[in-house]
């Protein structure tokens, strides 16, 4: 290789040849010094939690540096990189519906399920993950959840306890906050209308079921403040703009323990959602990226995240390892979406259904909202 290389440069002026030799000598040294992969995540307290929970120990163990970048979800950048054949993102933390679509569109590398690290007591990976969260498209890392919460300073009467109470304007008059998206809201509406959590998607599979969900949403439409960003609901609750609001459980937890807000989470009907770490298709640093994803799926990496943020392990075996919040010492178990007492009437967001139907539903939701 090096012979052919220098041969090709023989005809050049000596100075130029010297320069080329200089570059050729330096370049491999530079690569050998530090191999680095670009990991793209959601920024804020979540990315920081992941960084402290396992990025640092990964670099210590393998010598592979991690360049952390932020993004805001969506697949546009990944698709642009894959289409152009110039991939510079190696691993991306994807939301389930995005991950599923990315997999279907061939934007991410497939996962060998059996190669994932074993559970705490050596459980085989395919048994340690709830079935729908480990596929060839990816494996769920942490559960986060959409719940509804209220501010006990403003809501002083008997507290709401079920999703049906969220939709009950007579018992709980006042405005509610909801995300401006059909996601989760359709599930909430059907739960409130009396559908059992495990029957939600078989009802939504028919157009009558979707009509039924929208009809239920109609009953509170005038009283809803629609939020866009995850930071909004804690603010709406703190200001008394709404008496209750759907929100991400991690945001409410932070407000509770870090800002001492008198917020209460109602876990009934919590909508569990997860994301997974995906390797962008065609990355030149595939091997390093694969090592990183393997490392992130280790039980102790996943359990470590709960020291910093209230997101629970998707794998079953590390759930028992969840202990307390590092900054405040608060016991994390009661704040976890994955705690048994919080899971009694949980809905698992069905990202297969959403990825098949989301464009139609989204359009219908937009039209409904504008009316």
């Amino acid at each position: 290789m090096s012979n052919g290389f220098s041969g090709r440069f023989r005809g050049m002026a000596p100075a130029m040849r010297g320069f080329c030799l200089f570059v050729v000598c330096l370049a491999p040294a530079g690569v050998a010094l530090a191999e680095a992969i670009t990991v793209v995540s959601w920024g804020g307290s979540y990315a920081r939690a992941c960084q402290q929970a396992y990025h640092e120990s990964f670099t210590a163990e393998t010598g592979i540096e991690i360049l952390l970048e932020d993004y805001n979800g969506g697949l546009a950048q990944i698709r642009a990189q894959v289409d152009a054949g110039a991939v510079h993102w190696d691993v991306v933390d994807l939301e389930m519906p995005d991950g599923w679509l990315a997999c279907q569109e061939g934007l991410i590398e497939l996962l060998e399920v059996t190669e994932l690290p074993a559970g705490v007591n050596g459980e085989a990976p395919e048994d340690d993950y709830p079935g729908e969260y480990v596929t060839e498209c990816g494996s769920g890392v942490t559960f986060y959840s959409t719940v509804f919460a209220y501010n006990s300073n403003y809501l002083t009467g008997p507290p709401p306890q079920t999703v049906a109470d969220f939709f009950d304007l007579e018992k709980f008059p006042g405005r509610r906050g909801m995300r401006r998206s059909p996601f989760v809201n359709l599930e909430f509406a059907l739960l409130a209308d009396g559908v059992a959590p495990d029957r939600i998607y078989s009802v939504l599979a028919t157009s009558e079921g979707v009509d039924r969900a929208f009809a239920k949403l109609d009953t509170i439409k005038d009283q809803v403040v629609w939020w866009e960003a995850g930071a909004q609901p804690p603010q709406l609750l703190a200001d008394g703009e709404v008496i209750m609001s759907t929100a991400y459980n991690g945001r409410i937890f932070n407000a509770q323990v870090l800002e001492n807000q008198p917020f209460v989470i109602v876990w009934d009907g919590q909508a569990l959602d997860s994301g997974f770490l995906a390797i962008v298709a065609g990355t030149p640093r595939y091997e390093a990226a694969r090592q990183f994803v393997q490392f992130a799926n280790r039980p102790e990496s996943i359990a470590n995240i709960s020291k910093y943020i209230s997101y629970g392990p998707v794998r079953r075996s590390p759930r028992a390892l969840v202990d307390s919040h590092l900054a405040t010492g608060v016991k994390m178990q009661p704040h976890m979406p994955t705690s048994p007492e919080n899971l009694t009437r949980a809905v698992r967001l069905d990202w297969r259904w959403w990825s098949e139907n989301r464009d139609d539903i989204y359009e219908r939701f937009s039209a409904w909202l504008a009316r």
Binding site: D98, E105, L107, A370
Partner: protein, 404 residues
């Protein structure tokens, strides 16, 4: 002699061209090509025709009544089998067909996987329908044929809330299914309203700055510029604090007894919020061009008009106002065009009725990956703005506009 003269005239011209060349290249690479590619995506979609050439050729001969011929089934099966080994291509094609008819992604992936395992069983028609009953429906084949057309107006129809009737012909969708046209009208009207509000507020401010002694003028100008340098999100959030029901303004009104405590005014998460926040954010773009024009108008003009017997209002209308038209033109154009592309502010303070068309474009670029529809929506917006711009420049005169 003539040739020498000609040469001496050409050389500087070439020199000038060489100077402009870097800029020209930059604009072409960073603006013209991406824009062209984007607009192209709205009508040109070669993927399906490239990957399924035989199937599309067979389907072109099909009348559309009943099911296509056995040849079409065979071509589809052959091409899907070949595709089974090329996951990215299969993904691309099934995604494109899925956008014509939801559910097709699953059908195609399932069929490709099963074909790779089992191969032919009986006729190809029996094989395919055995794998998935969707192959027995003409709608499936219509969707594939539709997606196989290299040039299509489908995205434009979709973006204009029109639909192809089954018997041919194009008709608007039912009123409660329209998504994009109402949003476009709303975007245009809100942008127009915000432009007028900015003009009504910005004109006196610009006049005050221009008429003040230099020291005070500088401070006033700074007051306009400071919000301009503040993050957009911070300014938007500040309006939420001021306008919400438990906010500063409502609290003040309640403490004065002007508004009962249980009847606090709803000034945000509706159109009012959108107008207030957008007007504030865009105000500097109106004030700055106006100020630069007003500063160049000699004070003596107004004095002369008054000394010649004009009433103050008349002097303003006939002497001052016409001279500020270039500033009005430039400021209004800037504000209007910026307002049309806005979506963060309306999304945060606009509530249910505050969404503008850009958020739909962002959704289709980012989330649904339906870049064809996003491109069609953008193109329509671009055409609308261009038409308005032409009308506007005809009325005001573009050469008279001054951007400051």
């Amino acid at each position: 002699m003539k040739r020498i003269l000609h040469l001496s005239a050409t050389a500087p011209r070439l020199g000038a061209l060489a100077l402009v060349l870097p800029l020209l290249a930059f604009v072409t690479v960073s603006f013209v090509i991406p824009l062209g590619t984007l607009l192209g995506k709205s009508a040109y979609q070669p993927e399906v025709a490239r990957v399924l050439p035989q199937t599309i050729a067979e389907l072109r001969e099909w009348t559309g009544d009943g099911l296509p011929s056995e040849d079409a089934f065979a071509a589809m099966a052959r091409e899907l089998t070949a595709l089974g080994e090329n996951r990215p291509e299969l993904a691309r094609v099934s995604g494109a067909i899925n956008r014509v008819q939801s559910g097709m992604r699953g059908v195609l992936n399932r069929t490709a996987r099963r074909l790779a395992r089992t191969g032919q069983a009986g006729s190809w028609r029996a094989t395919l329908t055995g794998i998935d009953s969707s192959w027995e429906e003409p709608a499936t084949w219509l969707a594939i044929r539709e997606a196989g057309a290299r040039f299509t107006l489908r995205h434009y129809l979709h973006a204009l809330d029109l639909e192809q009737r089954s018997g041919g012909g194009i008709a608007p969708k039912a009123a409660d299914e329209r998504v994009y046209t109402p949003l476009m009208w709303r975007t245009l009207l809100v942008s127009l309203g915000v432009t007028l509000l900015c003009l009504a507020i910005g004109y006196p401010i610009a006049y005050m700055i221009a008429a003040s002694p230099p020291a005070r003028g500088r401070i006033l100008l700074l007051l306009v510029l400071v919000p301009f340098w503040t993050s957009l999100l911070v300014r938007t959030t500040a309006w939420i604090v001021l306008l919400q029901r438990q906010g500063v303004i409502n609290g003040f009104l309640v403490s004065l007894g002007l508004v009962p405590d249980d009847g606090r005014l709803q000034m945000i998460y509706n159109m009012t919020g959108t107008f207030v926040a957008m007007t504030h954010v865009l105000l500097p773009f109106m004030v700055l061009p106006l100020y630069s024009v007003m500063r160049s108008i000699p004070k003596s003009h107004m004095a002369a008009a008054v000394s010649l017997g004009a009433a103050p209002l008349q002097a303003f209308r006939r002497v001052y106002l016409p001279q500020t038209l270039p500033g009005i033109g430039a400021g209004s154009l800037l504000v209007f065009i910026l307002a049309i592309g806005y979506y963060i502010t309306p999304a945060l303070v606009g509530g249910r009725t505050g969404e503008l068309i850009s958020s739909q474009i962002a959704y289709h670029v980012q989330t649904s990956l339906n870049w064809g529809l996003a491109a069609a929506l953008s193109s329509i917006l671009l055409v609308a703005v261009t038409v308005l711009y032409l009308v506007y420049s005809r009325a005001i005169g573009i050469e008279r506009m001054r951007l400051g």
